[in-house]
């Protein structure tokens, strides 16, 4: 099939946009593997920077992973029941609570971080414990979990399914675990992936909330960019990409699947 000139023009434009997004990623990966960035690629490729980052900066990496998983657990425990209740109640209060739940998304991370420090900063050793960062992350990611689950719950006729089960004598626990949870699985999966990516990448709030002992991966990255050689910063970025890109791909796959049920 012959395509009009406009098609090729638009294709070229879109390719340029893709290049704009992808080229810096490639550059930073390449820089992280280059012996000496100043001399360029001719200085040879090496894994020594990645190894250096891996040996010197493992702390933030595991901390970020741990916080992300703990954050996921919290959002699952809090978010799924919350979404269920919100889907069943239609009153003014429910809408008001929904609006309040979205507030941490709208507020810049800096503002939430400041508010947390002002409210709880003086509570014992809480300030220097990693759970202080966790609280911020849960606040920030919970709305995404609630939204994702709520969207699925509202698209299925859950009330009718539950009524059917109840008429057959199923208890509330049986209905919740046997019917509600399996039905919102796509929403839970999408929400979980979102929570993990957001928590691992969260910086604005973490920068304010962290203490020297609770440095997360993005805070470590910012530190590396500011104070270390560009090769180390790039290698650090490679490690970050290795963590986040699989999650992003999973997110795209999950999103694509839910679009074509």
């Amino acid at each position: 099939m012959r395509r009009p000139a406009l098609f090729w023009l638009l294709l070229a434009f879109t390719l340029c946009v893709a290049a704009f997004l992808v080229v810096p990623v490639g550059l930073s990966v390449l820089t992280g593997l280059t012996n000496n960035q100043f001399q360029g690629l001719s200085s040879g490729l090496t894994f020594k920077w990645v190894v250096k980052v891996w040996t010197d900066y493992q702390g933030p990496l595991w901390l970020s992973l741990g916080i992300a998983l703990a954050c996921l657990a919290c959002t699952l425990l809090l978010g799924v029941p919350a979404a269920y209740v919100l889907s069943r109640t239609q009153g003014r209060w429910a809408r008001a609570i929904e609006e309040l739940l979205m507030l941490p998304v709208a507020l810049p991370g800096l503002a939430t971080g400041l508010a947390l420090i002002l409210a709880y900063g003086a509570v014992g050793s809480f300030r220097t414990h990693w759970s202080f960062v966790l609280v911020g992350h849960v606040l920030f990611t919970l709305p995404f979990m609630v939204r994702a689950v709520l969207a699925v719950l509202l698209s299925v006729d859950m009330r009718q399914l539950e009524e059917g089960a109840r008429s057959l004598g199923a208890s509330f626990a049986q209905r919740f675990f046997g019917i509600v949870l399996p039905n919102c699985k796509p929403g839970i999966v999408a929400g979980a992936l979102m929570v993990l990516t957001l928590s691992i990448g969260e910086f604005n709030m973490s920068l304010l909330l962290h203490s020297p002992f609770t440095q997360t991966l993005p805070v470590g990255l910012a530190d590396a960019y500011a104070s270390l050689r560009i090769e180390v910063g790039s290698a650090y970025t490679i490690v970050f990409f290795l963590m986040i890109v699989p999650l992003l791909i999973a997110l795209q796959v999950a999103g694509g699947r839910s679009k074509t049920p």
Binding site: T14, L21, L114
Partner: protein, 240 residues
């Protein structure tokens, strides 16, 4: 929280009257507006193209365009340094072409590029979703009635996509207002509001001022997002 401390409510008054804060507020708003406009044009064109055309490699191209979706601001700042920093790609290319090194990363221009980088993936997703829902018969009807591509764009595509574009634009504006990681990485002397807040907090330990400023900033972004939601229903924030 902003009203505690020595300044009391004065901190709020200062946030909206003192020239230094007003100037940074103004430059943040202008920057965000420019970023929003540029992002909408770029993602609008690319998103509609990807949604309406079928060609080999299309899925891969879409995947590439949405890859940076969840990159944090710090990493995006580093991407800008890779492009336009002291040892970046653009300075190397311009030196080879004109003999002059064009370093743009550590300025407002760098921030502009960074925020566009940040906003393009999610805006493209929104535009694509809306363009796929648009009835293809409308365009066919316009074409059969003899509308030129430009007329199709002006009278069918843009009006049809308007809710999605407005919603995506509002989110883009709100994130650009509140974004901080990119500015933090590019640092030096970029006087946007989040940087001012951070400086007040860390260097001058002026908690009340920082809180008052972030409250004002939060108000602006919240208003922008509320506007977006009123236009496009509840699905917007979930995509943010």
């Amino acid at each position: 929280m902003g009203a505690s401390g020595d300044l009391g409510w004065g901190a709020y008054a200062a946030a909206v009257t003192e020239p230094r804060y007003l100037r940074s507020m103004l430059s943040t708003v202008l920057l965000s507006a420019a970023v929003t406009a540029a992002t909408l044009v770029i993602s609008g064109v690319a998103g509609v193209f990807l949604a309406r055309q079928q060609f080999p490699g299309q899925r891969l191209l879409t995947a590439l365009l949405t890859l940076p979706l969840a990159f944090p601001g710090v990493v995006i700042g580093f991407m800008v340094i890779m492009l336009g920093g002291r040892q970046g790609l653009v300075p190397a290319v311009t030196e080879a072409l004109t003999g002059e090194r064009l370093v743009f990363a550590y300025s407002m221009a760098g921030l502009f590029i960074g925020y566009i980088y940040f906003s393009i993936p999610r805006t493209i997703l929104t535009v694509m979703a809306a363009a796929e829902k648009l009835d293809p018969q409308l365009l066919e009807a316009a074409r059969s009635l003899g509308a030129s591509p430009w007329q199709q764009l002006r009278d069918v595509l843009v009006p049809g996509l308007k809710p999605a574009l407005l919603a995506a634009g509002a989110i883009c504006f709100a994130t650009a207002m509140g974004a901080f990681g990119t500015a933090f990485t590019l640092a030096t002397k970029i006087d946007v509001l989040p940087m001012v807040i951070y400086t007040e907090f860390t260097l001058q330990a002026n908690l009340a001022m920082a809180a008052a400023l972030s409250f004002v900033l939060g108000g602006v972004t919240w208003a922008a997002l509320a506007f977006a939601r009123s236009l496009a229903g509840n699905s917007v924030v979930a995509a943010a």
